[in-house]
């Protein structure tokens, strides 16, 4: 019998921080994760974590930069709370044991990042995510809670109008299990693998977002997908914004520093959506290199600076692109990087389903609005992971412990039994590749109405084919073929929501750039998209943006 007060799904920074908060509130906590906690994708974050702790900087400036960066779609009350928590959060992580880079006087070192008025990004070389993940994991201590490691979330159980637990597939044991819980926190990360060209890990398949959606949760602003300007050409491996923060510059095939034309004031350190559009425009207008890419140059920074502050980047370039950034330019192109949207929550991580909470990239509070600033996502995982953990613990304290019902597990066994018993059917990997090709080509940096409509039709056709998906592998233990099938199903649901949300949004805001509507339209579209699951696809509704002090202005960098 598996029953806990609080079940946290996902063991990255948001999940671990939620678990820690619930443990501190004296709850019996379980973490469910498809990976060992230290292998979570939080560890791949490179650049840093924002906190306005510098003497010249202020929390208000951080708030304003984030509001402006969000293209006025971020909820200003949430952003104010978020930025105020930044300093204490970073200090707490330092006290937990995180090894940050330091300034000569022994204080936390800071670097400039895109869209920020001051150097406010605290870092650990170019592996800040790894440093935080290690620090938090070591503080959490594995003995303090139950960890269901290498378990795939397959559904969120909602009965009597509230969340009562989850069903997950235990990879090693090869079977579905229900874990009953008084409250559940989903911290399962993004669905970046909806795209083929993505900086995300193979495991970022939106399992939690999709399970919440199927259970009746409203997804918010899913059409806002961030494309990181600088991903390595073939592998789409991330080259941190810190590379430009340290002084790296972008050049086109004519050797021109083209960002001067797009963002005259801050040039290469403009907001990510701005830089990504600039790169794609350069390539489309024939100023890219043959093979469609631009150069990121670091050579002028000198060997010592590159190798000390951008050590991982050096390794990545040398290993994965055969390029030495000390002596050669790095070939880069934008790639999917971050989902501003996710499971809609309030500041405390609560969703529209009682007992179900969400945090981190799987959630949408929203603080990033239409475009996230670099250095704000690591901060988000910790600030809102903690809030969700506290809120889930409070909810658990006033709720009875639910029963484990065999029916939920049986439903999953039946669903998967059909996949395994087919003698002919669709290979999940092939459906995944076709979906990724559609999303790459038609739902990218610039969006055209005809291509969006085609994309929706293509994703729906793939969903129809998914009804005949076949799992070839007949072993139960570590059946990755089954994991492929489950993940592909999750991603198809989310791809449909992304495209369905992008079609009616007839404006350009942040990362959503419509070529037929190049301007932001505050009169009609300064509102959040909400998507709930209907019989024939997502049902869209809209909610107002909370704003406190900052009236929308045109965004100029």
């Amino acid at each position: 019998m598996r029953r806990h007060d609080v079940v946290v799904v996902g063991a990255g920074l948001a999940g671990q921080r939620a678990a820690l908060a619930a443990i501190e509130a004296k709850c019996d906590v379980a973490i469910v994760s498809k990976l060992h906690p230290l292998r979570s994708h939080s560890g791949a974050a490179q650049g840093g974590i924002n906190a306005a702790v510098g003497k010249e900087d202020s929390v208000d400036t951080h708030i304003y930069d984030t509001v402006k960066g969000s293209d006025y779609l971020g909820d200003q009350d949430a952003i104010e709370f978020f930025c105020r928590e930044a300093g204490p959060t970073v200090i707490e992580m330092e006290h937990f044991g995180t090894i940050f880079s330091r300034a000569p006087d022994g204080s936390l070192a800071r670097r400039p990042f895109g869209g920020a008025a001051f150097p406010r990004t605290i870092y650990a070389a170019d592996r800040t995510g790894l440093a935080l993940l290690q620090g938090l994991y070591e503080r959490l201590g594995v003995e303090t809670c139950t960890v269901y490691e290498e378990w795939d979330l397959t559904s969120v159980v909602v009965r009597d109008g509230r969340c009562q637990g989850i069903v997950a597939f235990d990879r090693r044991g090869g079977k579905f299990e229900e874990i009953a819980a008084k409250s559940v926190v989903l911290a399962t990360g993004p669905a970046g693998r909806v795209y083929g060209r993505t900086t995300n890990a193979h495991t970022c398949t939106g399992d939690g977002i999709a399970a919440a959606y199927r259970a009746g949760a409203a997804l918010k602003d899913m059409e806002f997908v961030q494309f990181h300007p600088t991903a390595l050409l073939e592998s789409s491996i991330l080259i941190t914004e810190g590379a430009r923060g340290e002084g790296g510059i972008l050049k086109n095939a004519n050797g021109e520093r083209f960002m001067v034309r797009y963002a005259p004031h801050v040039q290469d350190l403009a907001s990510r959506d701005v830089v990504s559009r600039a790169i794609v425009t350069e390539v489309r207008e024939g100023r890219g290199f043959p093979g469609s890419y631009v150069h990121l140059e670091l050579m002028h920074l000198g060997k010592e600076k590159i190798e000390s502050r951008l050590q991982e980047i050096c390794d990545f370039c040398r290993t994965f692109a055969g390029v030495d950034p000390v002596t050669e330019p790095i070939p880069v192109m934008p790639a999917q990087h971050y989902m501003m949207g996710g499971i809609g929550t309030n500041i405390r991580g609560a969703t529209n389903i009682p007992g179900l909470f969400a945090a981190g990239e799987a959630a949408c509070v929203s603080i990033h609005g239409a475009n996230r600033l670099g250095g704000n996502s690591l901060l988000e995982t910790l600030v809102f992971g903690k809030q969700a953990g506290i809120a889930a613990a409070e909810y658990a304290a006033k709720s009875p412990l639910p029963e484990v019902l065999a029916a939920d597990v049986d439903a999953e066994e039946t669903r998967v039994g059909k996949m395994s018993s087919r003698t002919v059917g669709e290979e999940p990997q092939h459906l995944r590749v076709e979906m990724q090709a559609t999303m790459d080509r038609k739902v990218g940096v610039f969006r055209r109405p005809d291509e969006l409509s085609e994309a929706l039709a293509e994703v729906r056709a793939l969903k129809a084919r998914y009804d005949h998906v076949r799992v070839v592998d007949t072993s139960r233990s570590y059946n990755l073929n089954l994991t492929d099938a489950l993940e592909t199903g999750n991603m198809l649901d989310l791809a449909e929501v992304i495209v369905a949300g992008a079609i009616p949004r007839t404006e350009s805001r942040g990362a959503h750039s419509r070529i037929d509507f190049p301007k932001r339209d505050d009169a009609n579209w300064m509102r959040h998209t909400l998507a709930t699951r209907g019989r024939d696809g997502p049902i869209l509704s809209y909610a107002p943006v909370a704003y406190t002090r900052w009236d929308p202005k045109e965004r100029v960098y």
């Binding site: 330091r102 201590g141 491996i237 092939h430 072993s475 570590y478």
Partner: protein, 322 residues
């Protein structure tokens, strides 16, 4: 940027305990550009030929530590190893699961023992209530203090070092390179208040079982250099706890022997290592040696050129007493 592809033969270890009596190697030949990572090739096998091939993987950029395996006899990350160099050197690419960890299925191994070793060194900051952290601000740490961590913060716990280590394979008491590199990270952390205890405790818990073969350092995909950190730990342990262990006494005795004569006095070294009481237990071995190679038990004469040895010692440790 399309590079020409080359037919690349793979031999991949397969074992599904629920079906197979014994492991086998499946052969696949893929047309691949030389810079293709091995992980990409394995995923291609999964999507095009055999979806039942089982392995761990996630980030594909050498930061999550999931895809360590044995590739042409070396423990390393599949995402970080390119097929071209392997093909040039070995003519094929043989893929096997990591060593010293039981196979669960195909390339997936049971990592419990590895993680238990990591837990054993108590990988968390230990604070002292009498010396609390500053309220509302960070602990100051100079860039020089950060330097002392060396490359240990880069560790991604992939276990390639654990798989490559012969001491792990031979001796269940040995914590392994990763756990010891992690211990070093806490020992040099100015925020940790348990430094001395950590150093005292690790001596009987396997610090001296390292064979100094440096295979861990060779295997490490992140240049953490565990064997060098183990060496540092030994120095710090002797400084903090003295020569309380056979291992540390052996090390100090060795140094002392060479300093004196430029060559080992085996009899003296055994006595220095085990101490007078435990020496009795070595008597049977001593009798055997006395019969076969009596010269080993004699006090050696200082070697020719001992002054040069002395000069080296002086250069390394000007204040050392000799």
């Amino acid at each position: 940027m399309a590079a020409t592809t080359v037919p690349t033969p793979f031999e991949v270890y397969r074992f599904d305990p629920s079906k197979d009596k014994a492991p086998r190697y499946d052969r696949f030949t893929l047309d691949l550009a030389p810079h293709t990572p091995v992980l990409t090739a394995l995923l291609k096998i999964r999507s095009d030929s055999d979806p039942s091939l089982t392995l761990r993987y996630s980030c594909r950029s050498a930061i999550c530590g999931s895809c360590a395996m044995v590739i042409n006899s070396k423990s390393r990350l599949a995402c970080q190893t390119q097929v071209g160099a392997e093909l040039a050197k070995h003519g094929k690419i043989v893929i096997e699961p990591m060593r010293s960890q039981a196979v669960v299925r195909d390339l997936v191994v049971d990592q419990k023992p590895f993680w238990n070793r990591y837990r054993q060194i108590e990988p968390h900051l230990k604070t002292d209530p009498n010396d609390p952290m500053p309220v509302g601000k960070e602990n100051p740490m100079t860039p020089e203090q950060v330097e002392r961590f060396k490359e240990t913060p880069r560790c991604i716990a992939c276990a390639a070092c654990y798989s490559a280590c012969p001491a792990v394979e031979a001796d269940p008491e040995f914590p392994g390179p990763m756990a010891l590199a992690k211990l070093y990270r806490f020992v040099v952390d100015p925020r940790d208040k348990d430094t001395k205890n950590r150093l005292v405790r690790i001596q009987p818990e396997g610090l001296w079982l390292c064979l100094r073969c440096h295979l861990c350092t060779e295997a490490c995909p992140k240049d953490v250099r565990p064997s060098e950190r183990i060496r540092d730990l030994k120095e710090l342990a002797i400084a903090a706890a003295g020569t309380s262990e056979n291992g540390s006494r052996h090390a100090v005795g060795f140094k002392d022997n060479i300093a004196g004569a430029g060559v080992l006095n085996e009899f003296k070294l055994v006595r220095q290592t085990y101490g007078a009481m435990d020496l009795l237990r070595q008597v049977p071995q001593g009798v055997k040696i006395a019969r076969k190679k009596p010269e080993l038990l004699k006090k050696p004469h200082p070697i020719e050129g001992i002054e040069e040895v002395e000069a080296i010692y002086r250069a390394l440790d000007p204040e050392g007493d000799r």
